[in-house]
Chain length 419, copies 4
């Protein structure tokens, strides 16, 4: 149980931190102001393009080898080397964790480093389970930054916290697989470079519950795929990625587009989600750290009732509680990452951090907002966006309650409970 | 201590409830969809106009006497009669409370009934402290719905939780008063009908701390008044009212525009804020009730893991906690309203409800969001907007911490503490 | 919905308050010291006697008509007049509520005023449902203070939160009823004057679930009744009343000892518990007020780091939160009492206060303990005992979770749920 | 940052676990029953003796080398070897941490292994700062288990959370030092083997604030030392160690009894408390684990409403929250231990765990109590005692609030704050 970053991880984390601060932060401030302007004045359409300065940041990051850092050790084959990761080899989950935290300080950073969801999860899926053809066609350009991808699982008509509820059909019909149904919260579908969706659908309704569904690669321009609308998360559209409601009407793709064969969606989802949840959780830690940082800055620089805000009422206690909560959650995540590296899977630990990280972040950010007064709610600070991000993560990839259920089942299992 | 609505109050509450459900709700759904569309597609500019159907709702409401119901008993002079309140006389705070709760179910309702902040607070101020000229010029058209008004107190450069920090100057110069400085979170300034601002400024820096500031009526078109930008609250601009950042550069108005004479701003603010905080608090209760209502509906109509969502995990416990919290908070507010009616002021009780109501609402809404899954975060349900409204109220009119300070001072005062 | 005490209630509350302060408080301090001494030095046996000075307090209280104040209006027949209540008539639940709060300041007071659990609940049961013979034999001496009684419902072998789990049998056999089984947390059994138990037992296992059990009056000296041991609540034995584990072996009493006839225990329990839960809840409010009072006193009189404790860190915020929580909970209870008076029953509201009151008390007392430092944990202050009392009430008469279930069922019922 | 136990630590932890389960648990159950009996029947005096079976457990533990395991690596000189630690050398804080957790499952275990507070802290103090004479006279017999010791710091008359408040004087007078004043919560003073107190007193009122106090070794039989009374913690006397209120009247000991010379008490206290707080915190983790273990056992073995308790309402969620909270806190403590080992001191991290550990334990134990119903409050389960222990730790060695202050100061210090 060794939580220290290897020298390489420490070096990369430091490089990422420096890049975020020196290169990304100024661009982010300009873009945030532009988004905020667009909201006020109704000119948001161009937010769905990728600004040139972001493309430029990507080029710079890649030139420094800060690219595809998420590629996991042992699964990366020649990819890390081919696609730019400094050092030419993938990182363990434990090594990538502090890098992910560093990218969490900026909502823009993950994309700049080609480490953003859902592309990372999709890439990992192809890396682990994709056929050579699937990899050539989609993984290469993804890692090269030439295309983006989307992930379509949740459905509007059913409680998707129970994934077995999914109703979109993905039926093998001769050499094809045919999809019919509707998805939403399809993240990434709004991106102008989005070329492919990974869609989870029902293939064998009579099979055992966890062998009914398949994951299918669907090119975004396949006839019958229609983005019905883009959804907002508490007013944020998360441009240029976005979250779409997408209908699939008699969508037909070759059966070779099914990843790892029909009926394996649940198995793959487990594999897909473990490392991704560690990334998410560590980015939440980065977000919480940034909020605490802002709270301390504001708390010391503003005065009320004759004192710095930090010295009023319970503010110091809340600063301490934030520090304790963040450090505890970070260690919990590092431990889960370590276990994932060591045993290949750590479902209980991953569910635990899926609960802990966004809740800690949400609480710390709420405090930071309160300390900022009205400013904390406005677009002048990144706190409102950060809060919304944390709130959304409490639902994304399974709500808190489902993950607590996983943890409780494991705990009661030690005492003989079967479920 | 009689908390029951009088027959008239009960009748008005029922009428308001019915109007909200039958008339306002369908319009609100259409407008919410339009706002949501505007956000997605960047056409928000026209949201700053008042839609015809809202003007129509106002006409209908007024025709039914559901107009200016906030006008307080005893202070309304002939206004309630002249400006349409059914029954022709003002309501006590206790009688208005359930009406306010009923309007809280819809973000649009307060405006439809001419009972929206900040116009209600401004109207009360003029009613209590305005000169006959001030009333003729601004109160009459406000109550008539011909103009809107804004309130400018908070400043961007200082911690405004300590109102003595305010730096905008309002200096009497001969027959004029001259304003210089900058305000933000000036609510109502974006409305096309906004005709006047009430601005709080520093007149006598050397006077005792609470006698330094004045409240000045500033017509919105006075030279030197400039809306620098509109602020968003977690992405919501609250069109068509909005919250502006407003600069005042050598703004000169007649000294007769000072309400009740220079140096009385703090005294007036206390008077202005008591009833308004009761209104706000009761609207929060309405909002929380709506969220709980939605949670129950969703909890019973969706299934996961073979059960209605309501029967999963801790959901029933949370429904019970929401019911208990809402009922407790409502009674606390009714008690404060009763005390306000009885004694004219109830600062400790008003601070207590200022803390309790939005926190309860925020917690209940958060639960309702969680139960709705992704839908709860989207614009398909009014929950994200409701949460933001509750979150903002934790800061508006003084942050939680300041109001807790008031309550604690009173409590320790019983034991001899001087401050 | 009128929550104001009637003049009579206000007068009685004031009289009780004054009596508690002037007469009971000094005796209580001496007794607490004696209990504390007994614990240290192992001489606790004599705590199971009633000290003469307590008997003397009872005489004084009765002489002032502060006796049997719990007797409910409308059900008291001639009892209130015969047995000493000042004014000679019973109080409504709403009128008794502030009296109960006043008795809650002292753990000794309820007994001094002949208003202590479980005797009050048992007396009410006999008042409402007892036969004339049952009343003559047990109600008269109870109200006269000549005997005490116990209530036996919970069983050690089953989860008694689900009362239908009860297994002690109470089988009618000719003219007798025969009891076999084991109870615990039989409150009052340790009192030297305890003359009778009301025992809840299973009479008709095949009847509908809520018609299987009976309530039986069992004289404490009936052969086969054995107190196996006295239980402690976090170290407190609650002498001289105590909580016993009691075995019943072939205990035979006349069938006329069944209250209201066999199979009616659940129906009676509902009737018994409504007012009693209001009393409990208001005593919790009294307890919480006392803790807050002590916290303020200590917070102002002790200094650390150059300031009174009250001014350090979040203490003022916590004082405010305590005040808000107490006032909210009190109003919720008064409302439940009012509804109980008005409609005869208010099960949802009573369950709500059963949850709210002890939780608020526990939280306020915990804060007061913390502010007192080590002293707060010791017997030098009544805080440790108060905390334990509040903690126990979270389980007594049904755990929080069961009562939340009642509240949630009612809430979901409004939306059509059947259970 | 390597949190894994070394092979030796793993082996010792396993041995301690096995010993606790096989040897200590049965004795503990018998003793708990005896204490409980004594409470009921007033025969507690003999609890102040050490039962023969406990002495016997000590002999067995020592024979297995499970003795003085707390002795820290690097400071133990020849002590670990001389006084029985298996392996003959001290453990790092990180290595001792899981051992401490294992001892936390039983309130008796620390004493059996000669690893109980306050003796461990006192021994460490002598180890680090004691003169050879002081070590020979007191450290040797302490480690040999022949004597016990007490620690006297807190005073009844002042808020001792601010240690500079201490008023007992310890004045150097020629070759002597003379003590006058009063202490309480002097832990260990009740033990029949208690031979010496370490007393913190004011020596130089005019010196800088943190150089005024000294630590003095005072033999318990020195004239003028008087145990005024033993204090209880929520009804628990913690026999046979106990917490005393002790008066010092003109107590005269040689000046050579001052540890490390006058004025160094604060410096020494820091050194004394770091490892001790890690021990305390890990024992809290052990306690919380035991409570969770009991909750799961009970939750699966009892039924209500047709289901195991664990499956009712929010119980599974609470089990998950307990697991997450415990694991997070444990990792936080291990990290602090690691830092203490690496840097010799980690005051911020130690303050953080001082806050986190007892709060987590208190919350988990409260849940376990609730799940046990009335049984959870009684002496039939160790939960009431466990809760009290956790509650007391929130005050012992500085209340939560003081430690949060330390953490906040460090956090704000990163942003330039001076205090």
């Amino acid at each position: 149980m060794d939580f220290s970053p290897s020298p390489r991880a420490a070096e990369l984390t430091e490089a990422v931190r420096a890049f975020v601060e020196a290169e990304i932060a100024p661009v982010e401030r300009r873009l945030d102001a532009r988004i905020s302007e667009a909201r006020r004045h109704g000119g948001g359409a161009d937010l769905w393009r990728v600004p040139d300065e972001v493309r430029e940041l990507q080029r710079k990051a890649r030139a420094q080898g800060l690219w595809n850092l998420f590629l996991p050790a042992g699964h990366e084959g020649p990819y890390a080397e081919r696609f730019g990761t400094r050092g030419g080899a993938g990182l363990t989950n434990l090594d990538y964790a502090p890098v992910a935290e560093a990218t969490g300080w900026s909502s823009l950073a993950p994309y700049v480093f080609n480490c953003n969801a859902p592309d990372t999860g999709n890439a990992e899926l192809l890396l682990r389970y994709g056929s050579p053809e699937q990899r050539d066609r989609w993984l290469d350009p993804l890692l090269d930054g030439r295309i983006r991808s989307a992930f379509a699982m949740t459905e509007p008509g059913v409680a998707s916290s129970d994934a077995t509820n999914m109703q979109l059909t993905a039926v093998v019909d001769g050499d094809d697989v045919v999809l019919d149904g509707r998805k939403w919260w399809t993240t990434g579908i709004g991106h102008p470079d989005c070329a492919v969706l990974i869609v989870m659908g029902l293939s064998a309704p009579d099979a055992p519950k966890h062998a009914r569904h398949s994951m299918v690669l669907v090119p975004v321009d396949t006839p019958g795929v229609k983005v019905e609308r883009m959804l907002d998360t508490m007013g944020f559209l998360d441009e240029p990625f976005g979250h779409g409601e997408v209908s699939f009407t008699d969508v037909r793709v070759p059966a070779t587009h099914v990843i790892a064969g029909p009926g394996r969606a649940f198995e793959l989802a487990q594999g897909r989600l473990g490392p991704g949840r560690v990334h998410h959780a560590m980015r939440m830690i980065g977000l919480a750290e940034r909020a605490l940082h802002l709270a301390c800055e504001r708390g010391l620089s503003r005065q009320a009732f004759g004192k710095p805000l930090a010295d009023l009422g319970g503010n110091r206690e809340r600063i301490a509680e934030a520090r304790i909560a963040i450090d505890s959650a970070r260690l919990l995540i590092l431990h889960a990452a370590w276990k994932l590296d060591r045993y290949g899977a750590a479902p209980t630990e991953v569910s635990a951090i899926k609960v802990a990280a966004p809740n800690v972040a949400q609480q710390v950010i709420d405090f930071a907002m309160q300390l900022h007064g009205g400013a904390g709610l406005s677009s002048d600070f990144p706190l409102a966006g950060a809060w919304t991000a944390a709130r959304a993560v409490r639902l994304a990839d399974g709500p808190d309650e489902v993950h607590k259920g996983v943890v409780a089942r494991a705990e009661l299992g030690k005492h003989g409970a079967r479920r």
